[in-house]
Symmetry: C3
Subunit: 158 residues, 3 copies
């Protein structure tokens, strides 16, 4: 087992969720390659082989647009999120690409202080390691939600 590789993946994921939880949304697209893909779907859709997701972006530029829309809609500021993720399970490596799956829980903290479990699921990631000095980035991130009840999810990056 390649301990250093595991650590790079774990660190990428830890920084990713921390950027979201710290409301540093403008940094969020930079975790992806320029042509990185981002998709939110449900476990039910995956098991039925339905390709459609709730959110689908195919470039960093689309993610930046999304952040801008969130800032303008001003919905994000009214609440906070807290992700806690498990250790990533590395499923394969081809060259400088790694596939990893990581379970997550997200709590939502309302402006009133009320806290509730908001979403749970699994990240299915394809990560490009780049050169030794490079920061790894997501070539593809599929957010697979455990719940099919997703209407309020559209607001936030997961």
């Amino acid at each position: 087992m390649d301990v250093a590789l595991h650590f790079r993946i774990q660190d990428l994921l830890a920084r990713y969720v921390q950027a979201i939880d710290d409301d540093r949304l403008e940094a969020w697209p930079d975790f992806f390659l320029e042509d990185g893909r981002y998709r939110i779907t449900t476990a039910e859709n995956v098991s039925r082989n339905l390709p459609l997701g709730i959110v689908y972006a195919t470039s960093r530029a689309m993610l930046r647009d999304r952040v801008r829309a969130l800032r303008e809609a001003n919905v994000y500021e009214a609440q906070r999120y807290r992700h806690v993720i498990g250790a990533p399970v590395i499923e394969g490596r081809e060259g400088d690409q790694v596939r990893a799956r990581t379970g997550f829980m997200v709590a939502r903290i309302m402006h009133t202080g009320e806290t509730a479990m908001f979403a749970t699921g699994c990240y299915a990631d394809r990560i490009v390691l780049g050169d030794g000095d490079d920061v790894p980035r997501f070539a593809e991130k599929i957010v697979i939600l455990d719940s099919r009840q997703i209407d309020t999810l559209l607001a936030i990056p997961l």
Copy 2:
């Protein structure tokens, strides 16, 4: 600190909870030795030195029976689970056996989409590392639940 050892333990646990959350229950017994022990109990029972648990199995074959019963009862399919675990704390090592404790939270996602904290607790594991190429396996896994309210727990592996 033996970083590589920590990683093998962390990776075993990450794969273990992912198998359950992915509903790959048939893979679950393989995380144990042939004569591996599995017990679910409560913190209250442990502090009172009560040996009895809620679930008690003393072999991989018993775990397989359990999975078969769950599939037949068909209760598992109606809901999903999501484990998130912390980093394991290694408490001791004797030869190729390691004792580790790992905190966990489990959310339950109902078919309707409703999500709630289902169980929290700690794994007290005895793990056999095996040869360098071997996958580590549980010689004993004691699931110590924080809550004494356990009646609905009988359905799922934890």
Copy 3:
């Protein structure tokens, strides 16, 4: 990336939360330097640059006093807590001091068995590594709660 360093920090945090969750509160002050600082505050206070926190201690002796008060008040025994934390993000290192941030969720388990998400937030830690054989300790631990609703929090170490 220094894998061994990451692991020492992760292990410190894992042992820290496990001591609390196991109700070994008397061991809690030992995770701090003799003149270690401990503060609980909220994300709202931090963003407004309000220095005041909910709890503020500037020495291990003050933490010991706090544990004694908790034991006398006898509030702690009636409930249990379960922390699950993510991987620490190391933000900087100067000499043998490391700054790290780590997201956490805490569930509270009442005597009746009822379990609920109790608190979420982030540890902003300054950690002194000490000599090779030393256990790292907190020079400063700031617990930044996501929620401003904090009245019931005073009872427990976080």
